[in-house]
Each structure stands twice: as structure tokens, then as C-alpha cells.
Amino acid sequence: MAEQPHVDLSGSRDTADRAFSWLAIAAATLVLLILGLIAVTMTNRASGVFGKMGFEFFTSKRWAPPEGEFGALSFIWGTIYTSTIAIVIAVPVSLAVALFITQLAPRRLKMPLVYVLDLLAVVPSVVFGLWGVLTLAQPIQGVYTHIHNAVAGIPIVRSIFGDTPQGRSFMTAGIILAIMITPIITSLAREVIETTPANEKEAAYALGATRWEMIRGSIIPHSKGGIVGAVMLGLGRAMGETIAVALVIGASIGQISANVFSSGNSMPAVIANEWGEADDIHKSGLIALAVVLFAITIIVNVVASSIVRRSMARSRGARS
């Protein structure tokens, strides 16, 4: 998509014209203004907690708002752990689906499949949470018990798929998150894969490659960067997801465990769950969590978007 050179033919500009252009600039600046205001006002509101706890905010796992103790470590752990589980599940599935839609599916099936995935993307997160807590949590506890019993003899795996499985746990939260981010990763990966130049694919076929060898040899090397970016955008979404996680993670305080079947808490979930009963200083603590969450997701998204943008620019260059 080559940009046309801008030819300024507009000539003399009256007041209304100039006013409109200023309005447009103001609207565009709003993006920067909002992001800046989020950083400043929320840090400001949480400064009491940050000042009091100092670095211990990140290293202590003791979260006792009535005593003014705010240690966020267990929530940071929960956020990272649940989103890791989600990524581990979602990435292979998304790639398989993206390749299925772009390479394997008959042309007539392609658009309906894309529609179905888009529908999955607009299901509200609270509906995922409702389904997770009322329908999924109970039966899946039995599945967890089976898995735990099956791996009971293997040293390290045993502690990951640990004992006393809970229906509301890191794992259930990870599964729900995986269902939620799969459409996002799939649609981005699909876009990247479709930029693979036809001649690279044909070259592979001309050498006698099977379809899978063509995917390995032409599509994957071409799309690697974009797919990494897509996965990171999915990761950012998973880390910030609130309501679905708040309903299925079990909301236990101070739990740092490698056991995927134990209950825990994540940063956004604890904010949603505790806000209702929080007093003023407690609210500052929760806003401090949001500031940390904001910082992490901004970093993840900046890195991810630069990767996606660079890889898209490169593939565009390769095509022309």
C-alpha cells in the first residue's frame, strides 16, 4: 500500500478551515494526553503507598490492608503465572488454526471460519467468567485430580501438577484466558501469514515440497517476527484481563506456588474483588497495583507493536 505523495492544493485557508484542522490536531493529541494523565494521576494517587512500602511493594507477599501492609509479590506472580499458562495453551492452538484457515481450509469455508473466530472475540469477558465459575470449575476439578494422579511418580512435574487440586485455580484461569486470547493471536497471525509472497510458496512446491514442508520452509521463516509480536499482544491482553480471572482464580491472598492447581490471585483480579469493601488507604494500594499493571502492559505492548510493525514493513518490502 504505497502512500501517495501529498499534494497541497488547498490554497488559501479561511478561519473555519483552520479551526477544523486545530480540532483534528486536538483529537489526535488526546491519545497522548490520556496516556500521560493515566501515568501521572494514578501514580500521584498511589504515591502514599509507594512511598511507605518502597521497593518492598514488589518483594513482599504480605498483603494486609488494615495494617497498612501492601506487598504485591503474590499478585505479580499470579498475573505472570496465569498468563504464561494461557500463552502455552493458546500459541500452538492459534498457530494451528491460523495455518488451517490460510492454507488448508477450502475457499468456501474460509470466511465463515473467520466470522466464527470474530464472534468468539466479541463474547464479553464476564460471560467467559460466568461460564468458568458456574459450569467449568466443578467438573474440571475431577480432571485435575486424574492428571495429578497420573503424574504422581515424576519428580518435577509432580510439583507443577500438584496435590489438592482446586476447581478455581491458576490452571482454570489460564484455560479461560487461553480461550479469550486465541482469536486475537489467530487473527493477527493470519494477517502476517497471508503476506507471504506467492512466489516463495511456489518455489517450495516447485522443489517438490509437501504442504507442511512448504509451511516450514516458506511461511514460518517469513512470518516469524510477526507471529512473535502477535503472541506478545496476546500476552498483554492476558495480563490485563480482569473479570474472567477474578471469577475463576480462587482469590486466595499471599499464595505463591508453582502448583497450577492451587488457587491464587492476580493484580487485576484482586483490584476487582477487593474494591467494594476497600477504605481510602486500601484503595490507594489497589491503585498502586493498577499503576504496576499499566507499566507492565505498556512495556509489553510497545515491544510487541514495534515487532509487528517492523515485520509488516519488511514483508511489504519483500512483496514489491
Binding site: A27, L32, A96, V126, A272, F294
Partner: protein
């Protein structure tokens, strides 16, 4: 970044039977991936429809009009205030985000072009789509709700912050598809730039912009986290956008999902069905507009 020469060469000399077998296995894996993602989708929709229809349509139309029972263990209908609240909040957010987002995109594509500033704004708009909705909610709580109290409008602001970058992105993409000679023709007739944009460029891109905005609205209508801190939890109907605590379907589902009473859970399923129908309907309308763009081109 990835050097095509450096990647490990594929060995096309392996035994043909193994190569075709591997191809078949991987094709199976791809189809399997689709089945894996289809299962939860079907399961969720089935739960929502079967349990929601029982609760929402057994008591038609009371479920959609009656207030929410104050004592949550009592069975019976009532999601009216939440439905009105969701519509109010979403309409308010649309009125805020769509004009601002379209204007922002107009700046990026029609005025700024490729300056450093536009590139920064464009990049930050993409980053802004990744800001968690709960952070937006708390931001609006600090900026607005702490001063003016609970209202549907507070929820609208939070939701509009989430929609803004989506609207900007979708609109700019559509503006790119407007041929430059349309603009030049307008200038040749002596129109100013703002007039050209308002009477030529935007109408040409309209179906695509409508489609993109509707998708953003559908996504936003289901958001819960930004509403938890901004709209309160009214159980009586409140048709005012600007004053008084309100409620929303998503927020009420969240409250009821944590309840241990069957009656409250039933109402949550009914509300979930209502919300899913609402978001799907908006998405379908968006599809109609997308189809129009596709056939026109």
C-alpha cells in the same frame, strides 16, 4: 532480523513415505487446533443459551423491564435497570469516542501524514489499545468519579477511552482506501481542505468507518472492569445519563456470578444471554457494512 540464508535447510531427500506421512500428521494437527477452539465456543454458547433462555424468556417480558430484586436469593425476574444502564453507558461512550476518534484519524491521515508527531500518535494509539480496561476504569475513578460521584456518564468516559484508539485505527485504515483523485477533484473545484474532508473524503469512507465503529461498540458494550468503579450498583431504573448511580448488565453478571444463590445465578445467565445477543447483533450489523465496502471496491 531473520536471515533466510541462515535457516536450517529443509531436507527434501528424506523417504517420500515419511514426508507425506508427516504432511498428513501436521494437517491433522491443524484441523485438531480448530476443533480444540470450537469446543469451548460451542460449550459457552450452549450454556448461555440453554440456561439464559430459561431465565430470561420464561418470564417474558418481565425479565427485561422489572427492577433487580434487592434480596438476591429470591427467585424472579428483573434486569431492566441493568439493560437501560448498559444502553445508556454504551450510547454515551459512542457519542464521545466516535467523533473524537474520527477527527483524530482525519488528522493522522489528512493533515499530519508522515511527520514525527503523527507517527508517535499512531504508535501510541496502538499501545493504548493494550491498556487493560481495569486501568481505564481506575483512571476515570480518580479523574471523574472521586469528584462527581457515580453516574452512567463516568462509565461512558471510561468506555470511550477504550474505544478511542480502536476507532482511530479503523477510521485511518478506511481513509487510506479513499482515492487521492477524489480529493484533488474537490480541490480543483476550489473547495477548502476541511470542506473536502467533510463532504468528499468522509462520505466516501463512511460504510467502512461505521463498520469499524460498530465493532468497537460491540466490544465495549460487554466491558465490565471499567464500570465497577464508575457507575455504582443501582437496583432501580435510572434513565439519567449524567446523574445518580446506575447499573449495567456486565457489572450485574459479575455480582451475581459470585453469589451462591440459585436465583441470582439464574438471573446472571439471563443477563449474559441478553448481553451476548446485544453484542452479536451489533457485530452482525457491522458485517453488513463491511460487506458493502467489499462489494463497492
Amino acid at each position: 532480523m531473520i536471515d533466510p540464508v541462515a535457516q536450517r535447510a529443509l531436507d527434501l531427500r528424506a523417504r517420500p513415505s515419511w514426508r507425506t506421512a508427516k504432511n498428513t500428521i501436521m494437517s491433522g494437527v491443524m484441523i485438531g487446533g480448530f476443533v480444540v477452539i470450537a469446543i469451548p465456543l460451542v460449550a459457552i454458547l450452549w450454556s448461555v443459551i440453554s440456561r439464559g433462555a430459561h431465565s430470561a424468556f420464561a418470564q417474558f417480558p418481565d425479565f427485561f423491564t422489572k427492577p433487580i430484586p434487592n434480596i438476591s436469593r429470591l427467585p424472579g425476574p428483573g434486569m431492566g435497570p441493568a439493560i437501560v444502564g448498559t444502553l445508556l453507558v454504551t450510547a454515551g461512550a459512542t457519542l464521545l469516542a466516535v467523533p473524537l476518534g474520527v477527527l483524530g484519524a482525519v488528522y493522522l491521515h489528512e493533515y499530519g501524514r508522515e511527520s514525527k508527531f503523527t507517527r508517535l500518535v499512531r504508535f501510541m494509539a496502538v499501545v493504548m489499545t493494550g491498556v487493560p480496561s481495569i486501568v481505564m476504569g481506575l483512571f476515570v475513578y480518580v479523574m471523574w468519579t472521586m469528584r462527581f460521584g457515580y453516574s452512567a456518564f463516568g462509565g461512558s468516559i471510561a468506555m470511550a477511552c477504550l474505544m478511542l484508539p480502536v476507532v482511530i485505527g479503523a477510521t485511518e485504515q478506511m481513509l487510506r482506501l479513499v482515492p487521492a483523485n477524489l480529493r484533488e477533484a474537490s480541490y480543483a473545484l476550489g473547495a477548502t481542505q476541511s470542506r473536502t474532508i467533510l463532504t468528499v473524503v468522509l462520505p466516501a469512507a463512511l460504510p467502512g468507518i461505521v463498520s469499524g465503529c460498530l465493532l468497537a461498540v460491540a466490544r465495549a458494550a460487554g466491558e465490565t472492569a471499567p464500570l465497577l468503579f464508575t457507575i455504582g450498583a443501582a437496583t432501580q431504573l435510572n434513565p439519567h445519563l449524567l446523574e445518580g448511580a446506575n447499573n449495567a448488565l456486565s457489572a450485574q453478571i459479575f455480582v451475581n456470578a459470585t453469589s451462591s444463590f440459585q436465583a441470582a445465578q439464574d438471573r446472571a445467565w439471563g443477563a449474559a444471554l441478553t448481553l451476548v445477543l446485544l453484542t452479536f447483533t451489533i457485530t452482525m450489523i457491522a458485517r453488513v457494512f463491511t460487506a458493502r465496502v467489499a462489494t463497492k471496491r
